[in-house]
């Protein structure tokens, strides 16, 4: 690996004269720069997508994992007794850290977004809500349900898992998809640079022949091509990454957990996309080197 790195360094320091040995090829050069720019642009989005869905998955999993709700719907006269019974059952259940009946004001606050602040709560048959906070280990939901059914007939346990799991699952899958897309983009870049390098190598077969006849080693000849493609890919990727990051910055801000408005990077996370040009350069370097070595080995 250090060998590779030092080869990369020698390469970037450059040998202008070796570069001149290979004639400039305007069109493939521009194509390589464009391809690298487009791929880097896409890579920024794939990365942002991945990072954001990962963040969402983590947040949802964390927020929802430790709480559940017990709802008591009973004739008004029984509510108080059943609530007390339920709290007693919960207190005795292992895995429950805390159980607390919500006050009327809290329930009103919960409903406010849907019904407005003037809701006459007393006039409605409101179920009593009990908020349950789990311990690290969690409780046995099936066992708890069975006990509640026997002792508190009006209680319904809502442990959120019904809808929490698929959401967290989906976010996790989106994260994986994002990484896969990123890999595919980089793979496509490698393939395109290989093709461009191969076409440059075969277009310059006569140049390679002359260089070999005057005693140039393979490494000298390869360097001229590799340096060129690495620099082109790096230049394109810098431009593409900058454009991609600018576009993500321009996405309007919204609530932090909104999926679309939350697309992007936070804090030091903004440094991560800066790795994309480096990665593109390394990929171009390796792809061109492989192509050049294979081509040169096929010459005498």
């Amino acid at each position: 690996m250090t060998g590779r790195l030092s080869a990369l360094w020698t390469l970037l320091r450059g040998d202008g004269q070796a570069d001149r040995a290979v004639p400039p090829s305007g069109f493939t050069a521009r194509l390589t720069v464009f391809t690298a720019a487009a791929m880097a642009f896409l890579a920024v989005f794939a990365l942002a997508f991945s990072v954001s869905s990962g963040r969402l998955a983590d947040r949802w999993a964390q927020e929802l994992a430790r709480t559940s709700t017990l709802r008591i719907s009973a004739p008004a006269v029984e509510v108080e007794a059943q609530t007390a019974a339920a709290l007693q059952v919960l207190e005795q259940t292992p895995g429950i850290a805390e159980a607390r009946a919500l006050t009327e004001a809290e329930e009103q606050a919960l409903l406010e977004p849907w019904f407005g602040p003037d809701l006459p709560l007393d006039a409605l048959p409101m179920p009593q809500l009990i908020e349950i906070v789990e311990t690290e280990a969690g409780y046995d939901a099936t066992g708890l349900r069975a006990r509640l059914q026997a002792e508190v007939p009006g209680a319904v346990l809502d442990d959120h898992t019904r809808w929490r799991d698929p959401l967290v699952d989906a976010a996790n899958r989106l994260r994986t998809l994002g990484w896969a897309a990123l890999l595919l983009i980089l793979g496509a870049l490698a393939a395109m640079v290989t093709l461009a390098a191969q076409s440059a190598l075969s277009a310059n077969a006569q140049v390679i022949r002359v260089l070999r006849l005057v005693g140039a080693r393979d490494s000298y000849i390869a360097r001229a091509f590799v340096r060129r493609f690495t620099l082109r890919a790096a230049a394109g990727a810098v431009a593409g990454t900058a454009a991609g990051m600018a576009c993500i910055l321009l996405i309007p801000e919204g609530p932090a957990d909104g999926f679309l408005t939350g697309l992007g990077f936070t804090g030091p996370g903004w440094l991560v996309p800066l790795l994309i040009p480096v990665l593109c350069a390394v990929i171009a370097f390796l792809a061109t080197r492989l192509a050049a070595n294979a081509t040169l080995r096929s010459h005498l």
């Binding site: 004269q17 001149r20 040995a21 002359v210 070999r212 006849l213 005057v214």
Partner: protein
């Protein structure tokens, strides 16, 4: 320093020459003649490692050409300056850079400055130094090729028809350059049809004559 033992070469089907042996001694001055199509260029290509013998052994500076790694072959080629019959330039670079190319690829670019101008002057290309090879006449290209062959002061100089397109006066000038290098101890091997050139050389150095005809190499030939 260059040994061919029972060497044969065939392009595809038919054998051009077989069981050919040759020993080139350091400091010798050799001419290779023979009818067109006899295989002179092919023989020279075996000597500078552009082709590998179909059978037999070609040893360059004591190393078997067929067993050399690619890097070893590159290093060997640096010790042999070649004037190719078809010149072989980088057409996008000016003549001066083409002449300096052997120094360039062997990491001796800094040596170029001193010798380059003198050498280009000697072969009469000062005015054309910044033109590209396709802009030169046939004779000018051959002169540039000779300059490139000797720029590194290699141990062996192999020239394939170096005076084919130049006038008598210029061919004498180029010969003088090769004779000077030979006097400095370099080995010179020239393929040519030009009998006058051979005669002129014989009057200046102890030149030997080889003739390749019908797949056989005759040595010690007299004019």
């Amino acid at each position: 320093m260059i040994e061919l033992e029972d060497v044969s070469y065939a392009y595809g089907g038919d054998t051009l020459f077989a069981d050919l042996s040759l020993s080139v001694q350091p400091g010798s001055f050799l001419f290779l003649t023979g009818p067109s199509g006899a295989g002179k260029t092919t023989l020279l290509k075996l000597i500078y490692g552009d082709l590998l013998a179909t059978s037999g052994r070609v040893a360059l500076f004591g190393q078997d050409a067929a067993e050399m790694s690619r890097d070893q072959m590159a290093l060997t080629r640096r010790r042999i300056g070649v004037v190719h019959q078809d010149c072989q330039f980088l057409d996008h670079l000016p003549v001066a850079e083409n002449v300096a190319l052997p120094l360039q690829v062997s990491g001796r670019a800094d040596e170029a400055a001193q010798n380059l101008d003198d050498l280009i002057g000697w072969v009469g290309l000062t005015r054309q130094a910044n033109q590209t090879p396709p802009q030169l006449s046939g004779g000018e290209r051959q002169r540039a090729a000779l300059a490139r062959a000797v720029i590194t002061s290699p141990d062996v100089i192999v020239a394939d028809e170096p005076t084919g397109n130049v006038d008598w006066e210029m061919s004498q000038r180029l010969l003088t350059l090769l004779v000077e290098l030979n006097r400095m101890g370099k080995t010179v091997l020239i393929a040519t049809h030009d009998l006058n050139l051979i005669r002129a050389a014989k009057s200046q150095v102890n030149a030997q004559l080889l003739r390749l005809t019908r797949g056989r190499l005759e040595s010690g030939v007299t004019l």
